[in-house]
Amino acid sequence: MKILVAVKRVVDHNVRIRVRPDGTGVETTGVRMSMNPFCKHAVEAAVQLAEKGQASEVVIVSIGPKQSNDVILTALAMGAHRGILVETDAALETLTIAKLLAKVTEEEQPDLILLGKQAVDDDSNHVGQMLAALTNRPQATFASEILVKGSELEVTREVDYGRETVAVPLPAVVTADLRLNTPRNAALPMVMKARSKPLAVRPATEFGIDLAPRLVVEKISPPAERVAGKTVGSVADLAAAIAAEVNEMEAL
């Protein structure tokens, strides 16, 4: 089985982001960037399948500026075999990303495509589902367990009511949730070795996809700030405050 994993470079999830005062976006210059956490779970899942002998090759693809090489190298250090950077400095919409990935899928013909369920910058949660539609494959999103059963996968998904298990025939698209696995930190020798693994750079413009955005973003603004309240001194005071809130609610 050949696996394609798509990964995204985002503002590190531990960074407290700052909205630019002019409303044009979120400050990213001088901010620590790293691989989107959900993408790390997808890479880890692919590498584990390779280690179990259930996958023969793990190919990493990322779409973004030249610096996205860093997150591809991270994935190669975790154990993936080769990388593809689809290079563009433009901010692409999720549908455009999915179309580019569909082109890469056409070239690579993977049996399984793994992605993170969402990126923690735009929080879209779109690309896996779109790619499944564009490549006419079944999808299993928000995966917390992936089992290979012959030419099918049994995937347990995290859903609003709990969890559910679905069977998807290969080729398929699976998106990773946080409890799928614990991503490894690559040891230094693996990091060194990653630099010698093949990494192809392809301009996004060579795929024949219209990269222009459809939506018009007017502004990015900070949310309303919450002001600090008061500290009460006793459980009785807290109970009285709760009782006051509840009584007001019932008056509605």
Binding site: R16, Y161, T165, V168, R179, P222, P223, V235, A239
Partner: protein, 309 residues
């Protein structure tokens, strides 16, 4: 300018979120509901009662992403907007449908500013994006908790559609959390527990407080990862987004990813040993101390107030 809206349901019943989704979708035009379910009859009957619904269309089919997407697709041509809840189902199907229709979707909408202007949170709610969608068709998901529910008392017609929808994926099994607490996403009061609750047994104390107040119970990602609480209780950027009138956070320090899920709460109360915890800093009312001492006393005090709801 009519809107097709996918009804949200669970265990053969319409979910309380649907009335909120109808209220949201009604801001864009007349709303037609679509119910896709293996046993749709009760769901459709309840959906027909929501004010503002023009018709309830029903497809009896398996509830996989493909069969729901195919059902929506067969009707999409007649509508200017096709929409769903930003729930695990809506998130699964709307992007898939959007790619089929070659439309860039707008998801997790929390405010409708005009016929094609929307606000959605990004970066775990630490920024808000205001955008215009000039496409001929809009594909949307709404965050139910951001909208007040539509009234009931309607009697919209119910129409069964004879569609055959295919799905390569097959549903095998559901693993449910048995709980009689109210629906987390739409509850008026929510109690949340953090990793300091310490154990699954500790969460029984949180649940007991929940019962006293008729509240839903949630948890942080750390508490879920530690196995103290089931995954469907997780509140935050990647879990459920809540907007109750009152949120009581117990032993929760307030990681950014958790705060993302509670920003819609009208009032936040906190119980924590650490007065400097980020969540305590944004709480309307805080009590500093050990939750294992405070919560049992609090339950007793609340019972004195006669708040058994």
């Amino acid at each position: 300018m009519s809107v097709l809206l996918l009804a949200d349901h669970d265990k053969g019943e319409l979910s309380p979120a649907t009335a909120r989704l109808v209220a949201a979708a009604s801001q864009l035009g007349p709303v037609d509901l679509l119910v896709v379910a293996e046993n749709p009859d009760n769901i459709a009957a309840a959906a027909a009662q929501i004010a503002g619904v023009r018709i309830v269309q029903v497809v009896k089919a398996a509830e996989t992403a493909e069969s729901i997407t195919n059902s929506l697709e067969s009707l999409a041509q007649r509508y200017q907007s096709v929409s769903a809840s930003a729930s695990s189902v809506g998130k699964d199907v709307i992007p898939r449908l959007a790619a089929k229709l070659d439309i860039q979707p707008v998801t997790d909408v929390v405010e409708i500013l005009g016929p094609n202007r929307f606000t959605r949170p990004i970066y775990a709610g630490n920024a808000l994006e205001t955008l215009t969608d000039p496409q001929p068709k809009h594909l949307l998901t709404f965050r139910a908790s951001a909208f007040r529910p539509a009234a009931s008392g309607n009697a919209a017609p119910v129409e069964n559609l004879d569609l055959s929808v295919n799905s390569a994926a097959r549903f095998l099994a559901a693993h449910r959390t048995e709980s009689d607490t109210p629906d987390l996403a739409t509850a008026q009061i929510v109690i949340g527990g953090g990793v300091s609750v310490g154990s699954a047994e500790g969460f029984q104390l949180i649940e007991k407080l929940g019962k006293t107040l008729g509240a839903a119970v949630g948890a942080t990602r750390a508490a879920v990862d530690a196995g103290y609480a089931p995954n469907d209780w997780q509140i935050g950027q990647t879990g459920k987004i809540i907007a109750p009138d009152l949120y009581i956070a117990i032993g929760i320090s307030g990681a950014l990813q958790h705060l993302a899920g509670i920003q819609g709460a009208k009032k936040i109360f906190a119980i924590n040993t650490d007065a400097e915890a980020p969540l305590v800093k944004i709480a309307d009312v805080a009590l500093i101390g050990d939750l294992f001492e405070i919560v049992p006393q609090l339950i007793a005090e609340l019972e004195k107030h006669g708040l058994k709801r």
